[in-house]
Amino acid sequence: MKPPQFDYHAPGSIEEAVTLLGSYGGDAKVLAGGQSLIPVLNFRLARPGVLIDINRIGALSFIREADGGVAIGATTRQRMIEGSDIVGRRAPLLADATRLIGHLPIRTRGTIGGSLSHADPAAEDPAVVTALDATMVALSKRGERRVPASGFFRSLLTTALEPDELLVRIEFPPTPAGTGTAFVEISRRHGDFALAGVAAQVTLAGDRASEVRLAACGAGPGPIRLAAAEKIVRDGGASAASIEAAAAAAAAGVEPTSDVHASAAYRRDLVRAMTRRALERAVARAAGGTR
């Protein structure tokens, strides 16, 4: 018996879950896929008095087209996302990234809402929503609140969600025609957390890059939007020189730390290389019409 004692609740509806969160708030942890929370409980790094298991709430698991983009329920499994035609067409960057999350048995259980709420700085989903300006929709007894990705990640493992709020869905904006995407990362072993990774989405209009979206993971306390690098490609086009300059700007704009896995300098260098590779691949896909 590894996890500490808790009172277990498995609500059958969103309303019930939000009521429970309203009553227990800070003493409660929400259990989604459990691929990060259960290890934390097994190590007893957290001792919540109450565990609210939202896996029995069918209404939290869906993928649907919405306003030209896609809306995804918080407990939708990563495995369902990676195999979804809708995600492949409407949010191809998310499909690219999801295939890199952990291993297949982890994605069987892991959920998009769980990954975003946990906010591990090396995780893929936070970088994707940051690059795409997705909207996190939180619900509490007080009502619904829409939080843009730029305001969602506060610091290491910390989000803008209040203790009584439940992340219920994530809304991704439409992907313009002529867009290519790529998510590239480096990890020591396949499936490990990335030392650093970069999400890229490029929209080409003739020989111009009309829209460029870049975000890094593993390079700071949370996902980092690489705005300076985006601007270089948007202004300078998708040439090799412009991509190289953007990669340098990306490396200059991150705040990696040293740990047992890699030094800060190495991570910074990885961000440069990953930015270059992600941009090259996204541009090639945009030009080839294969997303």
Binding site: M1, K2, P3, P4, Q5, F6, D7, Y8, A10, L31, G34, Q35, I38, P39, L41, N42, F43, L51, D53, N55, R79, G102, H103, L104, P105, I106, T108, R109, R189, H190, G191
Partner: protein, 163 residues
């Protein structure tokens, strides 16, 4: 006070009902309550893959789930892979024939992982096999025997279908 809950679950085709503490991990439930000790427990935080089971036919880490979460579910453990007491599954036979195991600790997780993988990818490349088992740690074999066994099993399973 202990938070207890009833769990009814089908494992390897057999129904079980137990009353357990809500904090009991599925891996410990399978081993200690159901006494199916074929499922091994290594790291208990989802890294080593030894406790991998098939939940509704899909691989999952049993150390990263609570027993209460599988109420009503259908599970296959390594004990449920072979067609009978006397016969091995072609994948198990291929592990034997290709030195796919030494101490045997990782083997239950390797087998469950590869059963699902070979169902989805009946004719895999060596690289695909290596990626498939990248979430399962083996400290004895150096993996080569396991990869050989998986490729051999793929051939045997396909041969079986043609025959």
């Amino acid at each position: 006070m202990k938070d207890m809950r009833k769990v009814s679950v089908t494992v390897n085709g057999k129904s079980y009902a137990r009353e357990v503490e809500t904090r009991l991990l599925l891996s410990d439930f399978i081993r200690h309550e159901l006494e199916l000790t074929g499922t091994h427990v290594g790291c208990e935080h989802g890294v080593c893959g030894a406790c991998t089971i098939l939940l509704e036919g899909r691989t999952a880490r049993s150390c990263l789930m609570l027993a209460v979460q599988v109420d009503g579910a259908n599970i296959t453990t390594v004990e449920g892979i072979a067609p009978s007491e006397k016969e091995l599954h072609p994948l198990q036979q291929a592990f034997m024939d290709n030195h796919g195991l030494q101490c045997g600790y990782c083997t239950p997780g390797m087998l469950t992982t590869l059963i699902e993988f070979l169902q989805d990818n009946p004719d895999p490349t060596e690289h695909e096999v290596r990626v498939a088992i990248s979430g399962n740690l083996c400290r004895c074999t150096g993996y080569q025997g396991i990869v050989d066994a998986a490729l051999d099993a793929a051939k045997r399973l396909q041969g079986g279908k043609r025959a």
